[in-house]
Amino acid sequence: MNPSIIDILIRPDAFFRDLVNKKEDLKVPFLIVLAGSIVAAAYGYLIGGLTAKMMGLAMPGLETFITLSSVLGALIGTFIFWIIWAGVIYALTFAFKGEGPFKRVLEVVGFGYLPQVLGSLITLAAAFIYIPRIAVPTITNAGIQDPVVLEQTIKAFMHDPAMMELTQVSSLISIVFLLWSANIWIFGIKHIRKLSPRDAALCVGIPVLAYILYMIYNLGVM
């Protein structure tokens, strides 16, 4: 019986045990990451729209530039993060004498992105609920040239109650689904890099927990 996509989510150990015997193929992982980047771009479009609304009066054309930057940033950023995660985990596995090519690690991390695609969809749904409730302060051309005014306006935007709630909700969702991804990556790295479960857990757990702690810190200082 061939493992399905569902197996990645609920039986990652079995999925990767089977995958290790197959030839490297980045097509499916790429599509998963692409799906994730499209959802992230949609989310970026919504949030970028708010920022563009805030800055729109300051300079003609700035609104379009901000929206496009947000969309493109989310699209490309997801792929960059894919490579960064794979690179960091790959580097850490050397400490435990891991074996196998980087492309395999990239494949595992790509498969492990699947829960985050689901998480991004939930975050996008939350954004549709919260964004209409966000009161966006606007800044004028004179205001954008005054760093104090600019800082206060951005602060007012970020501290908008609805915006804060959205940030908190999306952060919690990201943490939950990133841990789910980490769970998948641990089993994948165990098989791909021929490590013990403990070593694989450390290789994945250290960067993931560090990143999550950074997210929790940001939540605390909001």
């Binding site: 966000i134 908008d160 109650p161 804060m164 709630e165 952060s171 841990l179 479960p197 403990r198 605390g220």
Partner: protein, 389 residues
């Protein structure tokens, strides 16, 4: 021949003596009833009543009451122990024809204190004198300034009307009455009021508006002329700030706070608890609140005494703000703007109201995240431990 010449001289002397005796008899016997009919018909003092130290004039009108006889006048004089004569006496001879009048005017100065004086006018005729005494009054009573109505209190920058009255308690007319008002930090309109002549016992209302910028004392100066003598009366008017008991007094009540999509909606009523109309009543939120559409500023409009109107303002406020100042402003009839600030409690916890209303206090997501991470780490630790065995 010698006798004849002597007789002629004698006769001439006799004749001349006779002629001289006839002429003397005409003047001495017939003049007495004539000069008795020369009298003072009118005495005029200007001013009518003097202040001590005033200069003025007195005019005596002398009339020859004889129907067909002229009289010879040769010396007119005025004298009194307390009233000083400034001009010369009338030292010349002049004839006053039958039924004719002539005025004798003297410049005088009153150095005397208050009281009644009787200076004498004398006029010499050829063989007799005319004496006339008349009453001259010296009275130092000045004009009166009376404040009829004064505002309960002055307010900085607010125009208030002071109702006054200028009265003449003297027995004579005064001229060129002018009321001036001055003071540091006040604007008075009019600063100078010309009243003109004021008859004895007359009173004139004068209204002056005062706009003070600070507490001060306004100096009222009443200038007037008694004859040609300038006089003045001054009065100080304290301009003190205080609560105008009649002024409009808009008060906020029934204030309710709601949040919607992170925007605070504060609704309430504004009642005018004063006795004057509050115009252009407006309500808005002050910093740290950031007013938001649709009701950044709510214009309630004019509120008459005991009238009320509703308002609604919308704003956002950062976390940590438990109360927000609401500014209530209105204008009086002169356009002066008055403001009052009232704090409105928007949250009891210090977090934003939206957070207080929702189930997401600031630390809750952090705690939830930590629990999730601990569960994940614990789960894996348990898995590894079990797998090791």
């Amino acid at each position: 021949m010698r006798f004849c010449r002597s007789f002629t001289v004698f006769l001439t002397v006799i004749l001349l003596s006779t002629m001289a005796g006839t002429a003397s008899a005409d003047l001495t016997q017939s003049m007495a009833p004539i000069t008795g009919k020369v009298f003072v018909t009118d005495v005029t003092f200007d001013p009518g009543v003097f202040f001590s130290g005033d200069e003025g004039t007195v005019t005596y009108t002398v009339m020859n009451g004889n129907a067909n006889t002229s009289v010879m006048m040769n010396h007119g004089n005025f004298y009194d122990a307390d009233i000083r004569l400034l001009s010369d006496t009338y030292d010349f001879s002049n004839t006053l024809g039958p039924l004719q009048s002539r005025a004798f005017t003297f410049s005088i100065k009153t150095d005397a204190t208050e009281g009644d004086y009787y200076p004498t006018f004398s006029l010499s005729f050829y063989d007799s004198n005319l004496y006339h005494k008349s009453l001259l009054q010296v009275d130092n009573t000045p004009l009166e300034i009376t404040v009829v109505d004064l505002p309960d209190a002055f307010t900085k920058g607010k125009k208030k009307t002071v109702y006054m009255q200028v009265a003449n308690p003297r027995k004579n007319d005064v001229r060129n009455v002018v009321l001036e008002i001055a003071g540091e930090g006040i604007t008075a309109t009019p600063a100078r009021t010309f009243i003109g002549d004021l008859a004895p016992g007359a009173k004139v209302p004068v209204n002056i508006t005062i706009t003070p910028e600070k507490e001060t004392t306004a100096l009222l100066t009443l200038n007037y002329d008694n004859g040609n003598n300038p006089h003045k009366k001054t009065m100080e008017l304290p301009v003190l700030f205080g609560v105008d008991k009649k002024q409009a007094n808009p008060v906020m009540s029934n204030v309710q706070v709601k949040t919607e999509a992170g925007v605070y909606h504060v609704t309430g009523d504004v009642n005018n608890a004063g006795l004057e109309t509050a115009n252009t009543v407006m309500v808005t939120a002050l910093a740290p609140a950031v007013p938001q559409d649709p009701y950044k500023i709510y214009v309630v409009g004019a509120l008459k005494p005991d009238d009320f109107g509703s308002f609604e303002v919308t704003f956002t406020a950062g976390p940590g703000n438990t109360s927000i100042p609401l500014e209530l402003s209105y204008k009086d009839t002169d356009g002066n703007i008055y403001t009052a600030v009232q704090d409105v409690k928007i949250s009891s916890s210090g977090a934003s109201a939206s957070q207080a209303d929702s189930s997401f206090p600031t630390m809750l997501p952090v705690a939830a995240a930590i629990i999730i991470v601990l569960l994940f780490v614990g789960g894996w630790a348990y898995y590894l431990k079990r797998n090791k065995k």
